[in-house]
């Protein structure tokens, strides 16, 4: 377990997402990354129906933490539970209901490069491609500020100037001990952005 940074990699106009992903993968392989399986991060939204002001509960899973289930509230409060929590949610149908078509996931290959783990995932929202997320994890450290420069160097060689500064949600916690929940919060932020973008481009019929 180490420090992770998640960035969105923009897809240039007129090029398919799959192609860009392929280019990125090739790039990682050229700098010495070795493919070590694949990964999936998925997120589902649940809406509370009892309250007058509807609140959302986001349930995330990450194959990197196969035994865990992350539940995030609007406020950012995160609960890390084991996978039995999924079963619990089905019992809470009277309070929380899954929003239809909200399942968003980032899926792709996982590369190992010495102490780094690089994950290039293509994001799909209910089946349609939305964008690319690149995660870089530096395993030996747990303090973000101590390894940020090292990660920045690798990130910039990979995705360029997007990685000029640490991800916004990580910025406040640079000196804290990194927890897996922080990775999930970064993913959630990107997922929310993708959802918003999707809502704007496709007004509800």
């Amino acid at each position: 377990m180490g420090v992770s940074c998640v960035y969105m990699y923009p897809v240039p106009e007129g090029r398919s997402g799959a192609h860009v992903v392929e280019v990125l993968q090739k790039q990682v392989e050229t700098i010495g990354g070795v493919k070590m399986g694949s990964f999936v991060v998925d997120c589902e939204s649940y809406l509370s129906i009892m309250l007058s002001v509807s609140k959302t509960l986001q349930i995330l899973h990450n194959t990197e933490y196969p035994a865990s289930c992350f539940a995030v509230l609007d406020s950012g409060a995160t609960l890390v539970a084991d996978t039995l929590f999924n079963g619990l949610l089905s019992h809470l149908k009277a309070y929380y209901q899954a929003r239809k078509g909200s399942k968003i996931e980032s899926k792709g290959n996982r590369y190992q490069l010495a102490d780094f783990v690089i994950k290039i995932g293509s994001v799909t929202l209910s089946g349609s491609f939305k964008g690319i997320l690149v995660e870089v994890e530096y395993c030996p450290s747990v303090i973000a500020s101590e390894c940020w420069n090292l990660m920045k160097e690798l990130l910039q060689s990979l995705i360029g100037n997007i990685a000029e500064s640490p991800p916004p949600s990580l910025k406040m916690k640079m000196d804290e001990i990194y927890t897996p929940a922080m990775t999930m919060l970064q993913y959630l932020e990107h997922f929310n952005n993708f959802r918003k973008a999707a809502a704007v481009s496709q007004p509800p019929r």
Binding site: Y65, A67, C69, V80, A81, L84, F85
Partner: protein, 628 residues
């Protein structure tokens, strides 16, 4: 008559009794009695004890007469004898006096009686006498007490000897340590480790018998115990696990040696041993069998090993290192087999490894038994606490995978064996070198705290007389490699081959020489021109690298070059430069000493130099040369 009317007031007289008159003249009356109170007062006046009939029978006048007589007598008597008591006393005194007179007369006459003076200090007792009496009584009391105690003891002893023969008491004792159950008319016991977490198929049921039953059949043998146990035939005898680490130049694995080797100390159990010992031995047999079965199963299952493990009969053979073999033999001596002619071959039984084997199986048992309850209750059964918390702690895939890995017993014991072999080898190498190399001295400090898989040693190299110059290195001996941290902080990893360690130590010795000479240079004001601990040039050697150092004397007129190599040994060259020769004045040459690098170096025979050791010799030589 019409008289003027006069008012007459009629007042009731004060009929109440006055209780008290106060100082101010106020009178307090007793409250008048009410009717009921009056009645009760009157009733009190009646004497109920008086016999009414008597009164009725007698004329009242008679009663009056009697009371009259009494009234006359009572006041008369005291007036009749006013000196009566005085008279009485005088009379008594008179009688006494006359008796005394009689007695005195009799005594005086000496006819009938003689009086003797009586010794008056009778009750006055002497202290020692008193003590003696007390002592005697105490002794008597103590005697009674000790008598009683002895009797009690005797009774108790008798009781004890009775209980030993008492079957029920024995059974109770047995019940305290072993599991028993009653099936019909027989009592069955269980000696297997199943209740302690073992999952071995073989059971260990034994039967409890009363010895008096046996005796009734004919043979009357005086037995110590009235209880006997019958142990299943497959658990009879003595067993142990023989662990041997053999350094075989193995052309053939020595399979025939798997025959029984029973140390004489572990003889068969005789029939009439006490049941506790019998049961314990049988339990040990069962444990050894389980251990061996487990190891054999693992040996067959494990495919990872480069050379497969061999299981032949009651022996498991594995390769630890090339040429070193670990053999685990189950020795089960039932006492029924033929006497095998034991060769005088010494048993190289490794007790430590046998102990750790036992320990490992016990740990397995313990793990089987300690199955934490599921949390929450609807969760999976049999999850360890660590696995249960893996979710909330968000363990990564790798951590989970590591958790799932379960090392087998055989692998663990193999690791321990490897470490043990490697440790002994390194110890041997260091000791050998410390003995064979006199200059400099090697000193090894083994840490007394080590685990079964890691231990460490600090080796320090010093020269006699120059102990402040020290080269020390720390060796951490792992499972099959040695990590060495050298003086300058460099880390190098050695394999299990002992020659590698030897090479490293020899190289360190060469380095120590150059280091100490550089140190001497600093002290004597010499200038170190170059110092290389592992130079790549020089003559071709069989192994090892040369360390060399080049120095100039304070006056820059003598250059000394020192080479130290583990194979060819130490060599010293000296060159003298004439200060007058100043041939070329190249701007690149900044000082005279550099000009003298080239030229003829002359080798010094170090053996002929005087001094206790190499450093001492060179010290002396340098001191001499710095003057010249």
């Amino acid at each position: 008559m019409a008289a003027p009317s006069v008012n007459i007031s009629v007042e009731s007289a004060i009929e109440h009794q006055i209780q008290e008159v106060r100082y101010d003249g106020q009178e307090i009356y007793v409250a008048p009695l009410s009717m009921s109170e009056n009645l009760s007062k009157l009733a009190h006046k009646i004497d109920f004890y008086k016999d009414e009939s008597e009164e009725k029978g007698k004329p009242t006048s008679e009663g009056e007469k009697e009371s009259d007589e009494e009234k006359v007598l009572a006041p008369f008597q005291p007036s009749l004898w006013p000196w009566d008591s005085v008279r009485n006393k005088l009379k008594a005194a008179y009688t006494e006096i006359s008796v005394l007179y009689d007695v005195l007369n009799i005594v005086k006459e000496k006819h009938y009686m003689v009086t003797d003076p009586v010794n008056q200090d009778g009750p006055e007792l002497k202290a020692p006498l008193q003590m003696l009496a007390k002592k005697r009584s105490l002794v008597a009391a103590a005697h009674i007490l000790s008598n009683g105690a002895e009797r009690l003891k005797r009774v108790q002893n008798e009781m004890a000897s009775v209980t030993q023969e008492n079957f029920l008491m024995e059974l109770l004792k047995l019940r305290k340590n072993w599991r028993l159950k009653k099936v019909h008319n027989t009592i069955l016991g269980e000696l297997s480790y199943k209740s302690a977490g073992s999952r071995f198929w073989q059971g260990g049921t034994f039967e409890v018998l009363k010895t008096s039953d046996l005796a009734a059949e004919g043979e009357i043998v005086p037995r110590k115990s009235s209880l006997d146990v019958i142990i299943p035939s497959e658990l009879e005898g003595v067993a142990y696990i023989l662990v041997e680490v053999k350094s075989v130049v193995s052309d053939l694995m020595n399979i025939t040696s798997a025959t029984l080797k029973m140390p004489s100390s572990l003889g068969p159990v005789s029939a009439d041993t006490y049941w506790q010992l019998k049961l314990e031995t049988a339990q040990n047999v069962l444990f050894c069998k389980e251990l061996f079965a487990q190891l054999a199963r693992e040996a067959v299952q494990i495919k990872k090993a480069s050379t497969p493990h061999m299981v032949v009969g009651n022996q498991i053979l594995t390769n630890v290192f090339p040429g070193v073999q670990l053999s685990i033999v189950l020795c089960h001596h039932t006492g029924k087999e033929k006497k095998v002619n034991l060769s005088s071959e010494k048993l190289e039984h490794n007790h430590v490894l046998e102990h750790s084997l036992h320990q490992l199986l016990r740990e397995v048992h313990d793990r089987n038994l300690k199955c934490s309850a599921p949390h929450p209750v609807n969760a999976m059964l049999g999850m360890t606490r660590k696995r249960r918390l893996a979710g909330p702690r968000a363990m990564s895939r790798q951590e989970l995978m590591e958790m799932g890995e379960n090392e087998s017993l055989l692998e663990q014991i193999l690791k321990q064996t490897k470490h043990a072999v490697l440790r002994i080898r390194s110890m041997h190498v260091i000791d050998q070198m410390a003995v064979s190399i006199q200059d400099p001295q090697l000193c090894a400090h083994w840490s007394c705290l080590n685990s079964s898989l890691e231990s460490s040693v600090r080796v320090s190299v010093t020269s006699y007389g120059y102990e402040s110059i020290r080269t020390s290195l720390v060796l951490t001996i792992g499972i099959d490699l040695i990590r060495v941290v050298m003086k300058d902080g460099r880390v190098c990893t050695l394999s299990f081959e002992e020659t590698e360690l030897r090479d490293l130590l020899q190289w360190q010795i060469c380095q120590h020489h150059t280091h100490s000479i550089q140190h001497l240079a600093k002290v004597q004001g010499w200038q170190v021109l170059s110092g290389i601990v592992s130079s790549g040039f020089g003559d071709m050697e069989a192994y090892g690298t040369t360390s060399n150092v080049l120095m100039a004397s304070p006056r820059s007129n003598v250059i000394v070059s020192f080479h130290s190599n583990p194979v060819s040994g130490s060599k010293l060259w000296v060159k003298k430069v004439e200060p007058s020769i100043e041939t070329h004045h190249s701007p690149a040459v900044t000082a005279n000493k550099w000009a003298s690098l080239s030229g003829e170096f002359q080798e010094v025979n170090l053996q002929l130099l005087e001094g206790r050791n190499l450093v001492g010799k060179i010290d002396m030589l340098m001191a001499r040369l710095s003057l010249s």
